[in-house]
């Protein structure tokens, strides 16, 4: 690094740091404004000026008579995200184990995973929806939407596990075997602990990508909306600052989930450093 540290602070440095901090402002500005506006007074509208400050619009979200009753969609989204999180972790971890050893057809699987990532969300959604219809079934948030979410979370999960396993020294595992560990013991006491930080990452991606997914869910949620679908459906026509209130709440919820993941990673790392 020494060579880089010595770089003298040119005008370009100030240009880059200005761009960087402007970008952060650009990144967080709109959401900050939305958060402020969600505390809009009872008589206030969707934009400034603030007509006083209140929690009225937050209370409105929990008011069952409000046209977008967000409570059930939120519940569905959380349950679905938890299921997707667990499925993504298990499926990606197992696939990671197989990819690590290499097998015939691994390239095909790799490209399928990439295809799943880049496939147009509208195609996935329409395709799953039509598939249910052709089987005379009705897609629902826990069936068709679950599948649609997997096509989005699994590529991230599998690619993360590929990255984790490519840094995994196979000699660790061989050493465990040589010391007499069974396959199961090696998995439990060597492979899983070493890849645990990666698995936490997969969990974070699995949960948040599912919780926020809109496009792939759009044709397959059936009669009951998930939260992002409900949000899009009330935007425009029946917008009140309640929309911002739910936006603020769901953002705080996401930040808590992200925070929890990072605390978990931190604890794992601390334990590791302490236990070594």
């Amino acid at each position: 690094m020494s060579g880089l540290v010595k770089v003298k602070r040119s005008n370009w440095f100030y240009f880059r740091s200005t761009i960087f901090y402007l970008f952060l402002l650009f990144l967080y500005g709109p959401i900050a404004v939305m958060t402020v506006l969600s505390f809009q007074g009872e008589t206030g509208g969707l934009t400034f000026p603030m007509r006083g400050a209140s929690l009225h619009w937050f209370a409105d979200v929990f008011n069952p008579s409000y046209i977008g009753d967000f409570r059930w969609p939120w519940g569905r989204s959380v349950i679905l995200a938890l299921i997707i999180m667990v499925l993504t972790m298990v499926i990606s971890f197992l696939a990671g184990l197989a990819f690590r050893k290499g097998f015939r057809g691994n390239v095909v699987f790799f490209y399928l995973v990439v295809a799943s990532l880049i496939a147009p969300s509208i195609l996935i959604s329409l395709g799953i929806g039509r598939m249910f219809t052709s089987l005379d079934m009705q897609s629902a948030w826990w069936s068709g939407a679950l599948g649609a979410h997997l096509t989005w979370t699994l590529p991230f999960g599998v690619l993360i596990m590929l990255a984790i396993f490519s840094r995994f020294d196979p000699r660790t595992e061989e050493a465990a075997r040589d010391l007499g560990a069974t396959t199961w013991q090696t998995l439990k006491s060597v492979i899983i602990p070493i890849t645990l930080p990666g698995l936490v990452g997969v969990a974070l991606f699995g949960f948040t990508l599912s919780y926020d997914e809109f496009a792939r869910t759009s044709q397959v949620s059936g009669e009951h909306n998930t939260l992002p679908l409900e949000l899009v459906s009330v935007t425009g026509t029946a917008s009140t600052p309640s929309l911002y209130a739910i936006g603020t709440m769901t953002t705080i919820f996401s930040l808590l989930v992200i925070g929890l993941s990072f605390v978990t990673l931190y604890v794992i790392q601390r334990r590791r450093a302490g236990g070594a």
Binding site: F20, F23, L24, T47, V113, L123, G127, L209, D212, T250
Partner: protein
């Protein structure tokens, strides 16, 4: 004995791949096959009728609307790609080479990527109070006297859509570029400097070539997300923008599943060709 272990090994690999295989078969390959079949169906204005007709494709490739939609989508994607690539490069460069403390580096990087794990829909909606006729920007402009009248093009326009793409997708450039840039051996830069290369020469002949894989991965993300998005267009374009994915979504809205199937299948092929081309240039798998 070794033969038995070998066989078990192969068996375990198959078992480990089974869940992923089933998921991809059910929710990726299955739907694509259904779409392929549906694209040859007939739509009589009310119902989708099983048939084998190429009418949908004939309509798709002869309709001026298809061309308009693709031109508009490609133009938007090109703008978004250039802006996110330049912005992503500057940000990654700043994080990797300008920020010296490792702790600060990680913290600032996290600040850039945290929004990825929050709701994209909310982040698009959050632009509405910002860009509207009575929004923050117009208020600021009018109060400091830059403009007398509110700017109308800010919200419900192509501008709003592009802005929100840059907002949501730039981190897809930042993350892979950060990853590849951080792996550049500093001694290479030193060597270039020792040999008398100027700052811009180092950038052009050392850093940018070494960043190609990062740019490639970022490009794959940004292009595939931009080309297939209809959420931002629906929320922020105010029906002033006609992109491919939005028109597919509208065709689905009017129950024309046959035509929208043909249309979305063609979009998939376009995307696969673009991404396939990029992956031929750069071995993406090596970057993991």
């Amino acid at each position: 004995m070794t033969q038995l272990t070998d066989r078990l090994q192969r068996y375990s690999t198959a078992l480990q791949m089974t869940p992923l295989g089933i998921a991809l078969l059910l929710f990726l390959i299955g739907p694509i096959i259904v779409i392929l079949i549906t694209s040859f169906y007939k739509f009589n204005g009310f119902l989708t009728i099983p048939d084998v007709t190429v009418k949908n494709y004939v309509k798709l490739f002869t309709s001026g609307l298809t061309l308009d939609n693709y031109l508009e989508t490609i133009r938007i994607a090109a703008i978004v790609w250039i802006v996110t690539a330049v912005l992503g490069f500057i940000i990654a460069y700043y994080l990797v080479f300008d920020v010296i403390s490792l702790r600060a580096k990680m913290l600032l990087f996290l600040l850039c990527v945290v929004p990825f794990w929050t709701s994209g829909v909310i982040r698009m909606i959050a632009w509405i109070p910002f860009l509207g006729k009575e929004g923050v920007i117009n208020r600021v402009f009018m109060s400091i006297g830059i403009k007398d009248e509110p700017l109308e093009f800010l919200l419900f326009s192509e501008f709003a859509v592009i802005l929100s793409y840059v907002h949501v997708f730039t981190l897809f450039m930042v993350a892979p570029l950060f990853n590849t840039m951080a792996r550049i051996d500093p001694s290479l830069i030193e060597a270039a400097r020792d040999n008398g290369a100027k700052g811009w020469q180092i950038l052009l002949h050392v850093i940018i070539p070494l960043c190609k894989p990062g740019i490639a991965i970022g490009t794959i993300f940004v292009l595939s997300l931009t080309l297939s998005d209809f959420t931002a267009v629906r929320l922020l374009s105010g029906a002033n923008v006609g992109t491919v994915a939005l028109s597919i979504s509208n065709q689905i809205g009017s129950y024309n599943f046959a035509y929208s199937s043909a249309n979305s299948l063609f979009l998939l092929i376009v995307l696969l060709l673009i991404v396939g081309g990029i992956m031929r240039l750069v071995d993406v798998r090596k970057q993991l």
